[in-house]
Structure formats: structure tokens, C-alpha cells
Amino acid sequence: MSKKKLKRVGIYAILLLVAAFFFIPIVWMISTSLKGSDEVFLSPPRWIPKNILWSNYTAAFEAIPYLKYLLNTLQTTGLAVIGNIISAPMIGYAFGKLRWPGRDKVFLLVIATMMLPFSVTMIPLYSMSAKFGWINTYIPLVLPDFLGKSYFIFLMRQFYMNLPDELLEAARIDGAGEFWVYKKIALPLVKPAIVTVALFSAVWSWTDFMGPLIYLNRAEKWTISLGLSQFTNTYGVDWSLLMAAAVIAIVPMVILFFCLQRYFIEGSMNSGIKG
């Protein structure tokens, strides 16, 4: 009995230790973001600042056009989400439920593109975008979302494959057209998957760095990640200000996460296991 109890205490101790690794940096970021310069460099460190400086947050907004970056990111993220929730359910359906010759072989191409690193394609993509006049526009950032991101196609396909064929067949026997079957039968059944696609797409777009870095060189077009990365150029390393800026960049995704946690977790659970 006491041995069992000891084991439980041990598990809790280890859990807390791992949780500390994941959570302390977040607490520390928030703590630093509220400190004045006199408290930032204290040793030993002080967790709760004596002087809570909310003004760091307003200063972060004033140091760079942060609000502008937020609005820009809202644009890119919104467009990416719209693109993905249109394209992924369609393309995933074509691979997961519609029957056509060579389907599963062609799907290997989706897997292959999923494994293609951006570093390999970025130079031609940059020069292509330059030719098309797409630099400093959001087109190269969001067009791939409208044409189907392989990861989301993969995810949607998994969900469609779990649907029983009989449901669709019954509608077909009743004389329903193929598009009707998709729209009225298949699509409503994969709604949770579409929410997952929307969420992951939002997080990826919101946190994307290399794409905006390459395609957007005019500051008025920058996204929040890019703006945050350039913060020190204009302001030097002021840690409390930098932390406040980081908090502002993170908060929208955290709110999204807490509102729709179930879909995040379910989405992760359904990603990449069943090949």
C-alpha cells in the first residue's frame, strides 16, 4: 500500500518537473514583461515584480507599428484559413472517398510534397514571385493554401476514410449527384476535421517566419512574427519590452487554443499515425 503511494508521489514529482520545463519560460516571459529596467537584471531573480509596469505593453505598441503588424497578420492568417478550409476538404475527398484509377499512387505525390523542405524550393519561388510582381504582397504566402497544403489534404483524407462508404452509396442509389453527395453527406460529417484544419492553418500562418521574411521586405507589409524578429533593430535589446512584444504576439493563439482546445488535441491525435 505505501509502496503504491510512493509510486504515485514519484509520478507527480516527475510530472511537475516536466511541466516546469514547459511552463516556467512562459511565466518568466510574463514576469519580465512587467518589470522596469531596475528589476530585470536582479540576481537572484524576482518572480513577481514590486513595480508592475503595464506601460511596457503600450511602449511595445509604440516602439514599432505593432498594431499594423497585427492587422497584417490577421489578413494573412484569415486568407490562409479560408483557403485551406475550401481546398483541403475538396482535395482530401478526391483522395479519400472518390474512386478513380491510380488514386493511391498519385497520393504518394501528396506525401512526397509534404516532405519537401521550403529551403529547397525557396529560391525559385522567390524569383518566380519577383517575376510575377508578388513581392511585398500576400499572394505567395496564401496562394498555396488555396491550392491545397499537403498536410491538410492528408489529414482530411484520414477522416474521410473513416466514413463508411454505405452512407454515400445510399445517396447515390437514390439518384443524388456526386457534388450533392459531397456537399450534403460527406462534408457535414467531417466538420470537426475542418475545424482542426482551420486551427492548425491559423497557427501556422500566424507563426510563420521564413515565408514573410523572404517575400515581405517593406515594413508596412510585415507580419507579427517578422515584426517581432526586427524589434531589436529599432529599439536595441530591452528585455522587458521584448517580452511584452512576445506576449502580444502569442496571446491571440493562446486564446484560440483555450477556446478550441479539444480540436487542437484531436487534430494532433489524428495527424501522422495511420499512414
Partner: protein, 310 residues
């Protein structure tokens, strides 16, 4: 009968074609065309202002004499071998912990997952502050324990471990994937081990690890791809560390990862041909690694008999 298999499904084929038009467009525009052009550019001298000039194998010959190339290959291999191993270990370990019947599981799961939705830029900023040699939380903790405090990102020896720490912090997604995998293991398997008198190590060795090998396989491939693409950490170190000279690569090029080197050559020096040749080598390397992993996977990856697998 067989002949009419697809005849019956002509409406389905039509819809499939319609639905696949965007995908095919994207495949050509954002995957096939860039791959073909990268290969073409790699045999040229190209700086975007002027059209590419064919130079044969010159870029490749130069690469193999370039010490930055070897340094970046070493750095990336270090990052991938050490980093991905630790990422997988931490993920499995955390998933096993989260699977234990404890109070507050949901809260712990949330805490473990949360950092993975933090942007890589913010992640790097947070950890650069955590690992600040003088005022960082990590070193002040080490100080109270009486352990020597590394200079982390300001030292060639400790910068890669620091970058790995940043990657480790964001493994939430992998943890959840493993957690789902553990949930699928029938509890009878563990009971069988208990009957044989086996402890937690035997359970892990004979049940958990083999039953999760398919998850591990996909996470391994994914980790390697993401690992070789490591870029943001180096960028942020150059942006924030005062010693930076504008070029990305950290102290003594210890953070010059492969993708960073491509970026430097392409977007800082505008040597697009040379950077393309680097990209082609990366692509070939990735293909080689993937093929080797798939070839060896039959030996160690266990796919459950039917069940949820397609």
C-alpha cells in the same frame, strides 16, 4: 465485369478531376517547377538581376571546397541526431507520464502542449532570455546549485545545445501523437507482462516501444525534415546577440545550419546559383535518408494487424 469498374464511376472521376485542379496547379507551381528550376539554377551563375549564365559543375566544385558547407553539414547533423533523439525521448516519456491515472491530467496536457503554439521567433526570444549567461533564469538556477554556468548562445560549444533546447520546448504535438498511440495499446498486453512478473521497464521494452514504433517512425522522419530546416533560432541569435556581425551563423559559425547557409548564400550574398546547388544537395540528402529509413523500417517498425491502419 472488371472492365466496367470505372465506367460505373464516371461521375466520381469527373468530380475528382474538378476537385484536383487546384491541387495539380499547386503541385506544378509550388513543388515541381521549383524543383526543376533549382536543379537548373544550380548549374548557373544567377543573381536575380541578370538571367542565369550556365557554368556547368562550377557551383558544385566550389561547394566541396567551401568550409562553410562542411560546417553547416556538421551543425545540422549534430542538431538532427542529438535533437531529434531527445525530442522523441522527451515526447514518449511525457506521453507515458500523461497516460498515468493522475489528477489534473488535462491541466498537465495543456501545459505540455502550450509551447508548441508559440511562434518560433517568440520561442527563440524567450529562450535567449532564459539562457542569458549573466541574468538568465537557467544560469541563476545553476548558480544556486553550484553547477558551472555555460555561456550558452555566446559560446561555440553550447550554442547548439541551446538551440536544441528551443526545439525541445515545442514538442507538444509529438507528445499528443504518442499519447494517442499509447491509448490504442490494449491493456491486456500490460497485464500479461505483470503476470510474468515484469516491471515498468519490461512493459516499455516489450509492449510500449514496439507498439509505438510506427508512430516513432513517422515522427522520426518529420523530425529530421524539420531539423534540417532549422533557421529561425540562428536568425534570432544574429538579431539579438550583440556580437553578431549581421551574417547568420552564431559564434564561430556554430549555428550555421544547412538551411541557414542556403539563406546566407542566396539572400545575403545573392548567389542564387550557388544556393540552388546547396538546395539540390539537401534534396538528394533528404531523399537518401528517407529511402534508408524506409528500407530499415521493416526491421523495427511494427504495424498492428489490421485495426485502425488502412
Amino acid at each position: 465485369m472488371k472492365k466496367s469498374k470505372y465506367h460505373m464511376q464516371r461521375p466520381q472521376i469527373r468530380l475528382a478531376i474538378l476537385f484536383l485542379i487546384p491541387w495539380i496547379t499547386g503541385l506544378i507551381l509550388f513543388s515541381l517547377y521549383p524543383i526543376v528550376s533549382t536543379i537548373y539554377y544550380s548549374f548557373t551563375e544567377y543573381n536575380l538581376m541578370k538571367p542565369p549564365v550556365f557554368t556547368g559543375l562550377k557551383n558544385y566544385r566550389n561547394i566541396f571546397q567551401d568550409k562553410n558547407f562542411y560546417q553547416s553539414v556538421y551543425n545540422s547533423l549534430y542538431f538532427v541526431v542529438v535533437g531529434v533523439t531527445l525530442e522523441l525521448a522527451l515526447s514518449i516519456f511525457s506521453a507515458i507520464l500523461l497516460n498515468a491515472k493522475v489528477k489534473g491530467r488535462g491541466i498537465f496536457r495543456t501545459l505540455f502542449y502550450l509551447p508548441s503554439i508559440v511562434s518560433p521567433v517568440a520561442n527563440a526570444i524567450i529562450w535567449m532570455w532564459m539562457l542569458n549567461p549573466q541574468y538568465g533564469l537557467v544560469n541563476s538556477f545553476l548558480k544556486t546549485l553550484g553547477i558551472p554556468q555555460p555561456l550558452w548562445l555566446s559560446s561555440a560549444q553550447w550554442s547548439k545545445p541551446a538551440a536544441i533546447l528551443m526545439a525541445l520546448w515545442a514538442v507538444g504535438n509529438t507528445i499528443i501523437v504518442y499519447l494517442a498511440g499509447i491509448g490504442d495499446i490494449p491493456t491486456e498486453y500490460y497485464e500479461a507482462i505483470e503476470l510474468d512478473g515484469g516491471g515498468p521497464i519490461a512493459k516499455f521494452r516489450y509492449i510500449t516501444w514496439p507498439m509505438l514504433s510506427n508512430v516513432t517512425f513517422f515522427q522520426l522522419i518529420n523530425g529530421i525534415i524539420v531539423g534540417f530546416a532549422t533557421f529561425t533560432q540562428s536568425y534570432m541569435v544574429a538579431a539579438i546577440e550583440p556580437k553578431g556581425n549581421g551574417m547568420l551563423g552564431g559564434v564561430k559559425n556554430s549555428l550555421l545550419f544547412y538551411a541557414v547557409n542556403i539563406y546566407n548564400e542566396g539572400f545575403r550574398y545573392l548567389k542564387f546559383g550557388y544556393a540552388s546547388a546547396l538546395a539540390v544537395i539537401m534534396l538528394l540528402g533528404m531523399i537518401l535518408i528517407t529511402v534508408i529509413l524506409f528500407a530499415t523500417s521493416k526491421k523495427w517498425v511494427y504495424y498492428g494487424g489490421g485495426g485502425r491502419d488502412e
